[in-house]
Symmetry: C2
Subunit: 156 residues, 2 copies
Amino acid sequence: MDLKAVQDYYPDDLSYCYGCGRLNEQGHHIKSYWDGDETIAHFIPESYHIAVPGFVYGGLIASIIDCHGTGSAALASYKNENREPGTLPPFRFVTASLQVDYLRPTPLGVELELRGKIVEIKGRKVITEITISAGEEICARGKVVAVQMPEEFNKK
Amino acid sequence: MDLKAVQDYYPDDLSYCYGCGRLNEQGHHIKSYWDGDETIAHFIPESYHIAVPGFVYGGLIASIIDCHGTGSAALASYKNENREPGTLPPFRFVTASLQVDYLRPTPLGVELELRGKIVEIKGRKVITEITISAGEEICARGKVVAVQMPEEFNKK
């Protein structure tokens, strides 16, 4: 497994995402890696990331699915071009749409595992399916349609 | 317009949600009201809630759609029983599924308006459609399938 996550290769000016930017001091710092043909990330919610006491807030679950989805899209795009993350030009995706199904309450206080499958790569679009597990149980399932970042994002 | 939001009527032990719980000190404190036949909420993202500099993080957008969706579901359920929020028994919903379409980048630094339409009330399930606008432009559109909180949430 690459010791660096794909987010560690994002250009500095695109590394402030609250979910996964290494330069956002308040953020979640989601880090996505390959694990065989799947992508993987881990996250431990904070004690205040609660829906009701004992269970993880659904908005946080959506957030980390979102960021692991765009990270997985970048990983898949490098692989699709037989390139390593860190080679130029960089891939950086944003989310066009996000679907999350909450299958069961997600317990707080344990490390969550996110696993991603690459469903489709077509032009500038990559579709991934992401699961979130606590221990052996899948608690939520997401689908992320990610598109390569449009130029207008860089004009601000 | 009721001066108290529906979240202000949630029972104390169900008021710790990171997105909308009045008792979660670190949370977003989303507050949902009726505005005619629609529901409404407002939110100003923090400076660090960014995707890339200048634009709001998609995970935050999903989060506030989620909470305004469950809040709108509670409002709709009281109305459906010709009851005022605060009367017993209380309505408290969780999210079964969440769909968000990101229509355009959401600018940071302005107040966002969330508007909800009640699409369906059926048994314990309420479906709402939520938009997020910055000024005159709708930036994201969501659909929230909310269900009344199952008993198991109260056993923790």
